[in-house]
């Protein structure tokens, strides 16, 4: 799956979670840059991404995320 489509899927999930269709994510976007992306929203987003790609991230990988690009890389690694 190309990077762009993983990013698109993640963007869609974040928009649904935060109920804001205007959100635009780039690999450099950090959670704190997005209004409403707090720690509870973060859990919901990560779990929803795991569901969407039918995978489960390792605990250490989840705690080390810096930005959306890391999340995309994590999905890429998980889905091969």
């Amino acid at each position: 799956m190309p990077v762009q489509s993983v990013l698109e899927t993640i963007t869609q999930i974040v928009r649904e979670e935060l109920e804001d269709d205007a959100i635009v994510l780039t690999p450099q976007t950090r959670a704190r840059d997005v209004p409403g992306w707090d720690s509870l929203a973060h859990v919901r987003i990560v779990v929803a991404i795991e569901d969407a790609f039918d995978t489960e991230f390792e605990t250490s990988a989840v705690t080390g995320l810096r930005n959306v690009g890391d999340l995309v890389d994590l999905v890429d690694a998980a889905i091969g």
Partner: protein, 635 residues
């Protein structure tokens, strides 16, 4: 296939337009009805969250949410509850509730329960859910060489303290959990034999918890059973606990929320009451009209026959606990009845079926006829039907009827039917086990009515025996059940748990009355309840008056009032005040007090009506009852 309960396979999958429709719930004309329909699908966590948010929005805007019943729920949880909260209002709508939720911060259970000024009490909850796990209870580690009993005692005492605090805080409905057993065998099989193993400690705790709940009138949420059904190796999800302090697998959230909602719904008297069975390929293999009685598959001799026998056995088991059975089948009546009469391997017989509808009308028409014949709502029905087209038709025309999805293999029918939680209960009484017989007797009574044609003669011919008594421990479970389940003949719809009933029973100034009825066809047991409180003027105020709808039209209400007046006179009470508080379901008793000769004193804009009866002037008329000797002489 294997059965994945987490996917809630008894619910149909959400369609293409589900998401866009869910987003319109809070702005729709009938948000309650829309939410209930949308909630009737197999919703994952994300779907559940979307719908829950819209329900919360509709609630905040103050829109009426009928047909949903509003329930204020406070949650005290040892672990993170926010993600479970995401799914609860959606699950509530599925079970007829509009859940208004307040969640205490994680692991502040005692701080909130013991502080009368806490936000938990400020929410004025109708119910409080206490959710704790083995860690909070100190049951997470083996106690080898230590006294295992002391650990269990301490765990029970901790929860008992919380329950006691909530009861002092006037919380009427308290829900407490059993505890799931983590799949961490220390000795292996020997864990079962070693009292200090985590497994043995939790098993001992759960047994004590169930006793405690019964003693104090709390309701048990059997988390241990849920975790077993899911599989504990799946249920316990260490990454989610370590990362987020989630008490179990995130994917289990929708099912967990459904278990909570169905229990709360049952405690509000909203559990379903009647299982309607299709026949061909639901109760037996094959089509009776084509295959004939020799050709259908039922009972031993074939694997398919065994599957359908298991469906019939499940139906009979439900009947034995008070669920009414009915039949709706597209067949000629005589053809459909033949296996019930003549097939030696049928477990179900005609006498098991309260209403038998075999004709060529569509299913919705037959379901309406069944509900009418039983004098219950359509929302009390569950339809078991193998035909996907019929299921879809009923869901679209009668969205209040529950219609489980069924796989092709009938071997799965019983598990799916029972896993869906339609017939959830918070108690079980002798009356429950006799209910089906009672509905049958009703059919015979209707026949007498048709023969005599005159109401007075009909009532006299029934040979009714009535008895009144104060509340007592023997009647208490049934009284609590009536108080919590009666919707239609219920003047104030106040719900009291069994524990609260016991407390009312003990109030010296409060008059309580339970009324029993039997006739020549059967014994109804307790069918009427009155609670009257002494007000400051020395008059009685009727707090609760309700009756089972099974005894409508028999002048039982007149007999109950005659007894109430007799007791009032014996105490020198001059006036009895009363209220009618309208709900979506109790319109049938709007004129109850007018008919009984009370004077109306006030009516407010919500439709609530106030009444008073002058005890001295009231004339007791002749009534068609024999009195049960000894029952109504208690002061």
């Amino acid at each position: 296939m294997t059965m994945d309960l987490l996917a809630m396979p008894w619910l149909p999958a959400p369609g293409e337009d589900w998401r866009s429709r869910a987003k319109q719930v809070d702005t729709s004309n009938k948000p309650g009805a829309a939410a209930r329909e949308l909630a009737g699908h197999a919703l994952d966590a994300a779907h559940s969250r979307l719908l829950s948010r819209r329900i919360a929005r509709a609630m905040q805007s103050g829109r009426p949410l009928d047909p949903l019943t509003r329930l204020r729920l406070a949650v005290l949880s040892s672990a993170t509850f926010d993600f479970i909260a995401d799914a609860l209002p959606a699950a509530g709508a599925r079970h007829g509730l509009a859940i208004d939720l307040h969640i205490a911060p994680a692991d502040t259970i005692e701080a909130c329960a013991f502080d009368p000024g806490s936000d938990t009490y400020a929410h004025c909850p109708d119910a409080v859910l206490v959710l704790v796990d083995h860690r909070w209870l100190g049951l997470a580690s083996p106690r080898l060489g230590l006294s295992p009993a002391a650990g269990v005692d301490a765990a029970v005492a901790r929860l008992r303290g919380v329950i006691g605090a909530l009861q002092r805080g006037q919380i009427n409905l308290i829900v407490v959990p059993t505890v799931a057993i983590p799949p961490l065998g220390l000795f292996g099989s020997f864990d079962a034999c070693q009292a200090g193993s985590v497994r043995a400690q939790i098993l001992a705790f759960n047994a004590r918890m169930v006793e405690l709940a019964r003693d104090v009138g709390a309701v048990v949420l059997d988390v241990a059973a849920l975790s077993e059904q899911v599989g504990t190796a799946r249920w316990f999800h260490a990454p989610s606990y370590n990362l987020y302090k989630l008490p179990f697998l995130p994917a289990a959230v929708p099912l967990f929320a459904d278990w909570v909602a169905r229990l709360l719904s049952a405690a509000q008297g909203k559990a379903r009451k009647c299982l309607v069975l299709d026949l061909d390929n639901t109760c037996w293999g094959g089509v009776i009209g084509d295959d004939g009685i020799e050709g259908i598959r039922i009972g031993p001799g074939s694997a398919e026959g065994e599957s359908f026998a298991a469906v019939q056995q499940a139906a009979l088991d439900l009947k034995a606990r008070g669920v009414i059975l009915a039949v709706s089948s597209k067949n000629d009546d005589a053809t459909a009845r033949a296996p019930f009469r003549d097939h030696p391997d049928m477990l179900l017989r005609e006498t098991d079926i309260a209403v038998f509808q075999a004709n060529w009308d569509d299913k919705p028409a037959n379901l309406r006829a069944i509900a009418d014949a039983l004098a219950i709502g359509l929302d009390a029905l569950v339809l078991l039907d193998d035909n996907a087209a019929e299921r879809a038709q009923v869901r679209s025309m009668l969205p209040m009827v529950a219609v489980p999805e069924l796989p092709n293999d009938a071997a799965y029918y019983p598990t799916l039917l029972l896993a869906a939680g339609y017939f959830e209960a918070v108690g079980f009484s002798d009356e429950d086990s006799l209910r089906s017989a009672s509905y049958h007797a009703n059919a015979q009574r209707v026949a007498i009515g048709a023969a005599t044609g005159d109401t007075g003669e009909f009532l006299a011919a029934l040979g009714m025996i009535i008895g009144h008594a104060r509340f007592d421990p023997i009647g208490r479970p049934r009284i609590a059940q009536l108080v919590n389940k009666s919707n239609q003949f219920n003047l104030t719809t106040r719900r009291y748990s069994e524990g609260a009933i016991a407390a009312i029973e003990a109030e010296p100034a409060t008059y309580t009355q339970q009324t029993r009825l039997s006739d020549q066809f059967g014994n109804f047991g307790v069918i009427g309840v009155i609670i009257a409180r002494l007000d400051t003027a020395g008059d009685w105020m009727i707090d609760t008056w309700l009756m089972s709808c099974r005894v409508l039209g028999r002048r039982v209400e007149n007999a109950m009032l005659a007894e109430l007046v007799r007791q009032a006179r014996a105490r020198g009470i001059a006036r009895i005040h009363a209220q009618y508080l309208p709900t979506a379901k109790n319109g049938m008793v709007r004129d109850h007090y007018d008919k009984l000769g009370f004077a109306r004193t006030a009516q407010d804009q919500d439709g609530a009506q106030s009444y008073v009866l002058n005890v001295i002037e009231y004339n007791v008329s002749d009534l068609p009852f024999h009195h049960q000797p000894g029952a109504d002489v208690q002061a």
